[in-house]
Amino acid sequence: MADEPTAAAAAAAEADSKPATAALPANEGFEPEIIVFACHYCAYAAADLAGSMRLQYPSNIRMIKLPCTGKLEVIHLLKALEAGADGVYAAGCLEGECHYLKGNLWAKKRVGYVKKLLEEIGVDPGRVEMYNMSSAMGPQFAETAREFTARIRGLGPNPVRPREGFTAHEVVLKQMGDLAMPDDAGSDPTPGS
């Protein structure tokens, strides 16, 4: 789904972004693998829109589609990091606009809890995040992807990254099994239909 960023776009993204820790080196050349748990009703559609609008965002983003971010559990975020993802974020609907009323608020709490767990084990809590957006926010989806990628590039590789290349996405998809929805952009927007 993500277009390969050009050098100019990458430079623009770098300039636009606000790394979590400004003091950290930009880790040029390091291409983080980032897992995005995207809600079917908003962020996933926003990503589609970003694609339709020909907006560029980093190809580091690997999406996993969920019927709602409320389906996301603490263990999924931890497993993504354990599988080697350098950063993970959940992208759910705007607060108050969850299709299932409160799923995004549950996700926010779970992401907050994982941040606490990461602090305990000495992993930068900035490696996980919660974002909110509507399906009409294609540009914001692209901007979030750029911002988070820049943040993770600043933090450097996941200290427990077990491999070369991008493989965490596959591992996490396999572990999640039926919880993740098939990647079928453009099909009917109602899960299960």
């Binding site: 559990e73 603490v74 263990i75 931890l78 497993k79 990091l81 354990e82 767990l117 305990e120 084990i121 000495g122 992993v123 200290p159 427990v160 077990p162």
Partner: protein, 227 residues
Amino acid sequence: MITAERKPFDEIYGLTEGHDKVLVAGCDTCVAVCLTGGEKEAEILAAELRIKAKEDGRDVQIEHTAAIRQCEWEYLDAIAAKVEEYPVVLSMACGIGIQSMAEKFAPKLVLPAVNTNMLGMPQEHAVWLERCGACGDCVIGETAGICPVVRCSKSLMNGPCGGSHDGKCEVTTPEKEDIDCAWALIWERLLAQGREELMLVNRPPKNWSKSSSGGPRKMVREEAKPV
């Protein structure tokens, strides 16, 4: 229900030091209901420990399992094959489950990953309050269904004391939250029941020998023993 809280991560991680194969064992009854030590929480702790160990360059194999109840031999049989593979078990069950596990698989090293804290009830989602001290001599028939043993900070049998103000105890929780005065609650409910004369009953000092002060307790139901 028995409730427990997970020990601080550093303490748990410290317990695993020097070991290269550790099994995190959850219990899917009481500690699962209080969201501390069920299979889900065991899986999370195992993942945390693996990430930390990998960060520290330790070569440790850490997996998780869960028994339906760690406090019963039959349920421990169900996970025995897996437990036997690991020289060290980090149990997330209550103190009863941990000891059952340690006894069943003795002399295997079975270590606690939680602190068992009370017999409580969920007052609301994710909030538990202590309700019973298992004192072995229940008095709540006379105290309007409110236990003075654990709900009064002093376990007074003849309350309230001078530290009760506007229905609150002079003692607060460690988080500085107010505690309801158990004897104020007892008075209000006795009044509602029309049994306020029970406040005038002078109760003698409690016989704590029926509680844990009398040594380890044992209960036998002869009629229910297998023939």
